[in-house]
């Protein structure tokens, strides 16, 4: 991949896609781990409701998710107006907004992967840690978290790969601004709408494909490494 091969604005779409996907994972990882732990281990009223809420982006059309974000985080929305008035932060039509939309869309993917990782952790090990004097948080950070880390990593990689291709929610909430919110899929869409843009669309699609395959290979490599590191105790 070189600048000579891709036009500057195409190259910027690739970079932007990577940035948006990375930021979306950074934003959603910790809350996703928390949600996974609550859903997997917690016994509290409203657990089913939280479960449904987390999985909503999987079943609701992405455009509807984008519209929901627009209502909530728009400059006149209940959250967006507060952010704007207090911090001068505006999310709509910005790269940050694109990352937020992507994060919401990939959130259930991470939660599912993390839950799989967590379910692979033997509760007996946590009990053993308890009898050895480790309190609740101590047990979580020293035993549970490292043992579920293959699941967390798998979730992060999957979300990153999926985030590169998020279209509906991004275009609805963050619009299609070159250099600002025009990620790879948006650039491909724009190219196909432009007369004579077939070649550009083809190049970008090829890049998309390459990134997706690399992501899969990376995930596989990490999973194997982690499995060996954890003594095949989990993952």
């Amino acid at each position: 991949m070189t600048d000579a091969w891709l036009a500057p604005e195409e190259w910027s779409a690739v970079r932007l896609s990577l940035e948006v996907a990375a930021r979306s994972v950074a934003v959603s990882l910790a809350p996703a781990v928390l949600a996974a732990v609550l859903l997997s281990r917690g016994r509290f009223p409203g657990r089913t409701l939280l479960d449904a809420l987390v999985h909503l982006p999987l079943v609701v059309p992405p455009v509807v998710v984008g519209w929901g974000l627009l209502m909530l985080f728009g400059v006149r929305g209940p959250v967006g107006s507060l952010l704007n008035d207090w911090f001068g932060v505006r999310l709509v039509f910005t790269t940050e907004g694109a990352a937020l939309a992507t994060a919401v869309m990939s959130f259930p993917l991470i939660v599912r992967a993390v839950r799989l990782g967590l379910d692979g952790v033997d509760p007996g090990l946590e009990a053993a840690a308890g009898t050895l004097g480790a309190g609740r948080l101590d047990r979580f950070f020293v035993v549970t978290l490292p043992l579920m880390s293959p699941g967390i990593l798998a979730g992060a990689v999957t979300a990153f790969a999926a985030g590169l291709g998020e279209f509906g929610a991004v275009i609805t909430f963050a619009s299609n601004i070159p250099g600002e919110t025009q990620t790879l899929p948006l650039a491909i869409y724009s190219a196909t709408q432009t007369p004579g843009g077939e070649a550009a669309a083809g190049r970008l699609a090829l890049v998309s494909f390459g990134l997706a395959v690399s992501g899969l290979l990376l995930a596989e490599l990490i999973a194997r490494r982690m499995g060996r590191l954890l003594g095949r105790g989990a993952g």
Binding site: D122, G124, L125, A127, A128, A129, G130, T131, L132, G133, A134, G135, R136, D138, R139, V143, P146, L147, L229, L230, G231, R232, G233, A234
Partner: protein, 372 residues
């Protein structure tokens, strides 16, 4: 000082649920074995003592200090009970090295807690060459030795062992059992030991709590319970018989015998075990099926141990066997004979007899006994 345990708990609902209603007092320090068939609730008792299970009703107190008292709303969480647990499956942390596993509890032990140091425990259990390894690369026996060390190094007030040898094959059990005995002697801690293997009881336990279907059917010193004929869990076994405390007196290599003095007076001749130093205290189980009876002193016999005794009880054990309880001086013995033998010899309480035990039938060094 004692460990007091009283628990009531119910699993499941209605008739097919399992009810636990067990209470016992274990003397401390000392090893108390919770013994019974699988499913009798012994592991449940252990989990409740460790704080891993919250029983519906109950009280657990160690030397007067209650860690559980449902009547007064006391429930000390496991991390503050200081009960070191050795689980059947080891439960070593797979992502940590052997050394980090061993130090896990040590790092979290209260500052003032006393106990053997890291190097002492590593030497005691012979795990020095394993420290850098991961648990996945250890054999079953090595894993259990590390698990023992990890529990001991957490500086517990009480050690709980949940069938620590049950997951091992016979060879590995023989490998780990001596380490358990050494650990018991070095730790000086009260130990609650769950098992369904009688040889482990013989080798390790001072007192015994017999559990059946969630209830305590008997408790007391192991030797005293070993000669009871009213406890089918014990007396119904092939290896049932009197467990005798004794001391190595001398070795006789020419005759191929080791002389043992019994705590209750008298002597026993056992196969030569020159590696046991004189003065070493151990226990020998004299299996009831290995004890023959005669009303006259037999002459010209291969049997080495001929002990004058008095019959104290005759009790049918099923349709084809009879338990004969004996007293040889201060030493109780148990013999299992056929109803025909009872009739021919006219065995009845008060009758003087000679109890005959082949030296070869005794095993003072193998898994049948250990150091006291």
């Amino acid at each position: 000082m004692a460990l007091e345990v009283a628990l009531r708990h119910r699993f499941g609902r209605g008739g097919d649920g399992f009810a636990l209603d067990a209470a016992f007092v274990a003397p401390t320090p000392g090893v108390t074995a919770l013994f019974g068939p699988s499913g009798c609730g012994k592991s449940t008792v252990l989990a409740a003592v460790a704080g891993l299970l919250r029983p519906r009703e109950g009280r657990v107190a160690l030397d007067g200090d209650a860690v559980l008292d449902t009547a007064r709303g006391v429930f000390v969480p496991p991390e503050r009970r200081r009960c070191g647990v050795v689980f059947q499956d080891g439960r070593l942390f797979p992502h940590l090295s052997v050394e980090a596993n061993l130090r896990f509890g040590l790092r979290r032990a209260p500052r003032g807690a006393e106990g053997p140091g890291f190097d002492t425990v590593v030497a005691l259990l012979g795990v020095g060459h394993l420290l850098a390894r991961r648990p996945a690369g250890l054999s079953g026996g090595e894993k259990q030795r590390v698990a023992l060390g990890r529990a001991l190094l957490s500086r517990p007030r009480l050690l709980l062992m949940d069938e620590p040898l049950a997951a091992l094959d016979a060879a590995r059990r023989v490998e780990v059992l001596p380490f358990l005995a050494r650990l018991r002697d070095a730790a000086g801690l009260p130990i609650l030991y769950v098992t369904h293997a009688l040889d482990e009881v013989d080798a390790l336990a001072d007192s015994l709590v017999l559990l059946e279907a969630g209830r305590v059917v008997a408790e007391g010193p192991v030797e005293a319970l070993s000669v009871r004929t009213d406890l089918p869990v014990l007396s119904g076994r092939r290896d049932a018989g009197a467990l005798l405390a004794c001391e190595v007196l001398a070795h006789d290599p020419v005759r191929g015998l080791t002389r043992l003095t019994l705590a209750g007076g008298g002597e026993l001749l056992a196969p030569l075990r020159p590696n046991l130093p004189p003065g070493r205290r151990l226990r020998v189980r004299v299996r009831a099926r290995d004890v023959a009876l005669a009303t006259q002193a037999p002459e010209a016999t291969s049997i080495s141990n001929i002990v004058p005794s008095t019959v104290t009880g005759v009790e049918a054990a099923g349709s084809a066997e009879v338990f004969v309880s004996l007293m040889a001086g201060q030493t109780p013995l148990l013999s299992r004979v056929s109803p025909d033998a009872v009739a021919r010899l006219g065995l009845r309480p008060g009758l003087p007899v000679f109890a005959m035990v082949k030296a070869i039938a005794l095993d003072p060094a193998g898994t049948g006994a250990g150091s006291l």
